[in-house]
């Protein structure tokens, strides 16, 4: 499994607004591709802002029963972004050195930011012509469109988890997330 079902919750309203506001009538032919790009822009802003807002000394925090630390969560987002964006966009993912969840806050944020930048490049030229094509997600067979839905779903649920961790530590959500 790419992600833990415990963290999967509802879709964010923000993704809808992004989809609605930036999908002009002429772009209807690439409705799904545009949705993916808009969700990426919005979610990357929210997730990176939340990561910056969380103090470095809280990166080791984990809230039972969510048994992963905040630092691990950031690495997890990057670990999902690279293979999924690579599959969706048909662009090879780079081989990167392994990081630890205990690495410095800046290092973890940099890795996650780089993964979103990779996604931006991978999805830049995506169009709706190959949305039915079946992709292999490490054994699970999914169409490109369903893989996009899975990816946007991970952004939504992981950002919700970020906000939950911050709330438990009495830290306000960043403005971008409100």
């Amino acid at each position: 499994m790419l992600f833990n079902p415990r963290y999967m919750k509802k879709s964010s309203t923000i993704l809808l607004l992004a989809a609605l506001c930036s999908t002009p009538a002429f772009a209807q032919a690439n409705r799904v591709s545009n949705f993916a790009r808009d969700a990426l822009t919005q979610s990357s802003k929210e997730i990176i802002a939340a990561a910056k807002q969380m103090p470095a000394d809280k990166y080791g925090f984990k809230a039972p029963p969510d048994d992963i630390t905040f630092g691990y969560l950031l690495l997890h987002v990057a670990d999902i972004n690279y293979p999924l964006c690579s599959l969706i966009g048909g662009v090879p993912a780079p081989t990167l050195p392994q990081l630890k969840e205990t690495d410095a806050k800046d290092v973890l944020i940099a890795r996650m930011t780089a993964s979103f930048e990779f996604c931006t490049k991978a999805l830049a030229n995506l169009d709706d012509s190959g949305m039915q094509q079946t992709l292999d997600l490490g054994g699970a067979k999914m169409s490109r469109a369903m893989t996009i839905l899975t990816l946007t779903g991970t952004w939504t649920s992981h950002h919700e988890l970020q906000l939950k961790y911050m709330q438990l530590n009495g830290i306000a959500a960043p403005a971008a997330a409100n």
């Binding site: 509802k10 949705f35 839905l149």
Partner: protein
């Protein structure tokens, strides 16, 4: 090899192993239960109706499975007016979430409709009401709580013939594997409807297989199951380690085959005990059967009566086979008996293949290693693996609800049947081999 032990001693040994197993389980049950309780099954309900010129697929999907779908919210409820504006995107995404094949060619939906519904809606109890519900315009003022909502869709696919072979696959949340299930009610033209449960991540499943497709796929399934079932293979291995000739093995393998066929068929006809506890219990019993067989090898097996032990444990292994088969049997279409028989044939073919490799290998090893050392070493390894499995599988059993009294009574029928059949066989065997008493001899002369 030692042959002196009778059935009575064998039963005492079986009882001893059972007591040891019970003690082991009691020790492990003292551990605290895990605090984690993750809901694993999320069901999508679907109707597939075949018409002369089209197939209608109507599906109800829990919104939790569509995590990335940008349905707008107002507080804890969906904003239905805004949702209508993202409906084309949602439907376009979901058309690739379900794959319908006609004679292995994917069909394209020509019409797609969808709406959000509250979890309390009951229209999916029947096909007609489900279609009417999805196709109707939603009441935009209806409150739909986010945490209980479903997304209901209706796709129409043109077909070339209602008699084609149709397959279905769900790719919705396929990354969650079999934590998701697609419950399909298939309604073929002019035939009785059938229900299927398709685990997430499955390959396209045939909805109306022909008899030869059903038979071939179940033979293949049987072979694959025995060849990939390390526990069944280890049991078979421990069963045959002490044998030097095919002749003695014949009765053992036949007893094992007949016995597992009985429980396999019984399970297919819903005669097996019910409840979530039963499959893990069977898994433990299978591990225990290996442990017993291996330990018996260590202390000197009674080869003359091994067919009886093989038969008794065969009943347990049959339940294990049935557990695997249960999910697949729904895809047998109208050919339940044929598919069961074919699966059994596959199991036997797989067994024969294994024995064709194992027995010559054992004979070869006997030339290189003293027999007793060989039997002892292999059996000790088998016993250790089986012991580990028993402990490991008990962790799964612990997470299940304990069976009710009714479940236990239902389960008790099987040990009773084993004892009854075993006792009858032993009685007949003894009667056949009994030497006539002196009095009987004289009366016979008269």
């Amino acid at each position: 090899m030692q042959q002196r032990r009778g059935l009575g001693f064998g039963l005492w040994r079986l009882l001893g192993v059972a007591v040891a197993i019970a003690a082991l389980l009691a020790v492990f049950s003292a551990r605290p239960a895990s605090a984690d309780a993750i809901p694993t099954n999320t069901i999508m309900n679907a109707f597939v109706k075949v018409e002369p010129k089209q197939i209608d697929l109507v599906v109800r999907i829990p919104v939790d499975l569509l995590r990335g779908m940008p349905f707008p919210q107002k507080g804890q409820q969906f904003d239905l007016a805004a949702a209508e504006r993202v409906m084309p995107l949602a439907l376009q995404l979901l058309t690739s979430g379900f794959v319908i094949l006609e004679n292995n060619s994917p069909l394209s939906a020509t019409d797609a409709r969808g709406r959000l519904s509250p979890g309390s809606d009951r229209s999916f109890e029947k096909y007609a009401s489900a279609v009417a519900h999805v196709d109707a315009a939603p009441d935009l003022r209806e409150p739909i709580p986010v945490d209980q909502a479903t997304f209901d869709v209706h796709f129409t696919y043109p077909i070339s013939s209602p008699n084609s072979l149709f397959k279905i696959q769900s790719q919705v949340a396929a990354d969650l594997g079999d934590a998701t299930k697609l419950l399909v009610r298939y309604m073929p033209l002019g035939e009785q409807s059938r229900a299927f449960i398709i685990p997430g991540g499955s390959e396209p499943m045939p909805l109306n297989p022909s008899w030869y497709m059903a038979a071939a796929s179940f033979v293949q399934m049987g072979i694959e199951h025995i060849l990939s079932g390390t526990d069944h293979l280890l049991f078979l291995f421990c069963l045959v380690i002490p044998f030097r000739r095919w002749r003695g093995l014949f009765a053992v393998i036949t007893a094992f085959t007949l016995a597992h066929s009985v429980t396999l068929f019984a399970s297919a006809f819903h005669l097996a005990p019910k409840g979530g506890w039963f499959p893990p219990f069977v898994e433990i019993a299978i591990a225990a059967s290996i442990a017993y067989m291996a330990i018996e090898n260590l202390f000197g097996p009674n080869l003359r009566r091994r067919w009886l032990t093989a038969g008794m444990f065969g009943l347990v292994h049959g339940f294990g086979f049935a557990d695997v088969l249960a999910e697949k049997l729904q895809f047998a279409g109208s050919y339940l008996l044929l598919s069961l028989f074919s699966f059994n044939v596959g199991i036997e073919l797989g067994q024969m293949l294994v024995l064709l490799v194992v027995l010559p290998s054992l004979l070869l090893c006997r030339r290189l290693v003293p027999e007793r050392a060989l039997v002892f070493t292999l059996s000790a390894i088998g016993a250790l693996i089986a012991g580990y499995w028993m402990i490991d599988r008990f962790q799964v059993l612990r997470q299940q609800d304990w069976p009710s009294i009714g479940d236990l009574l239902s389960a008790a029928q099987w040990p009773a049947l084993v004892l009854l059949v075993g006792g009858a066989i032993v009685l007949v065997t003894r009667l056949l081999h009994r030497k006539p008493a002196a009095g009987e001899r004289s009366s016979a002369k008269v």
